[in-house]
Amino acid sequence: MTSATTTGWTRDQIAMRVAQDIANGSYVNLGIGIPELVASHVPAGRTFIYHTENGLLGMGPSPATGQGDPELINAGKRRVTMMPGAAFFDQATSFAMIRGGHLDLSVLGALQVAANGDLANWSTGADDAIPAVGGAMDLVAGVKRVFVMTTHMTKEGEPKLVQHCTYPLTGRAVVTRIYTDLAVIDVTPRGFALVELAPGIPFDFVQERTGAPIIQSHALEARK
């Protein structure tokens, strides 16, 4: 085991790394929680247009605490603002954008991602859990590329990147790329494949914390 001082990327650094991979002018849906940080790290010279599935394209940052409009909210039901060129629309239109393949990218959190791209991010399947799914299943079914942004391990120290998901699925074979505190990893026809390690993180350190083999040789190809 590598020493416990090996920390990898912070949440903000993961968000910064995700943002680097998003092209100027992309239409992007950011999931609730850690993916929301991406909006704070847009590279200079690029503009992303944010879609929030409750009915707004051109979502802007949160207003100051206590400010804003209680009926101008994001999918997490928090107050947001709108950018110049924004548009409001109903839910059928919003999910036509999603299911119809009009959005370029969805960035989602995860409970588990499998080596074939299966995603579980809505329920642990626990008996006492209140089932709630929101728009996650529509997003993974319809958006062109699905990025997952997550800690590499659970709080209990279990791998989130696994051979097969044990939690109920959100979608089958839907994840394109995974960004964690330790590495950037692609989902390929041959399974997980390394794109990039966080600074100071050895490959073996990542592999030990991953529930399925990671192809190491992919990294050079992915950067070409």
């Binding site: 101008l72 919003s94 209140i130 699925l169």
Partner: protein, 236 residues
Amino acid sequence: MIDKRFDSAREAVADIFDGATIMIGGFGEAGSPIELIHALIDQGAKSLTVVSNNSGTGLVGLAALLRAERVSKIVCSFPKTAGSTVFPDLYRAGKIELELVPQGTLAERIRAGGAGIVAFYTPTAVGTPLAQGKESRVFGEREHVLEHGIRADFTLIKGHTADTHGNVLYHRTARNFAPMMATAATVTIVQAAEVVEAGALDPEIIVTPGIFVDRVVHVPSPALESALNEAGASYP
């Protein structure tokens, strides 16, 4: 002369019957027709099936309707918003049935119901527990599940401005499910902060055309769920 105005929320919901299916607009508190819901609580109809994206927060609005045990089933995509305790308690006690539907599928099922489309195929939820027991079919090498349109007896929605013909405009993200729900019920009831004469609204910007609306109630200063909850309110 057409005039769809009703004098009060109480009169507008008076004929809602036991066992009715009711669509209720809103995504969280945005677009939640609280005054119509409170009038429905006062009216007393029970054994209702409610179609709504969420299940309400605190002890007001939709949460209050559930707490009064008037709802036997809810069709919903996300019934556990922060601050939502009424639904989880009823659900765990086995006092309410939940049909969990992905949000986009819920929107499209309502749209289909209102548009005369009995059912449709969608790739959403394939391979998940929410597709279990549903008919599926492969189109273009991709599996899809069959989902059915939903219709209701009544729809309760919140507009911002309505005219006497029932044309409706909404406020920002309060629009959400309301335009589809308006099309999918036998009787659609709109509460609006502003009600104007037919002809006052630019026909180019109408969001819900009046053909889908049966009753308009003027609610000049609609309450907000968050403000009521912060004040510790409960209804009734």
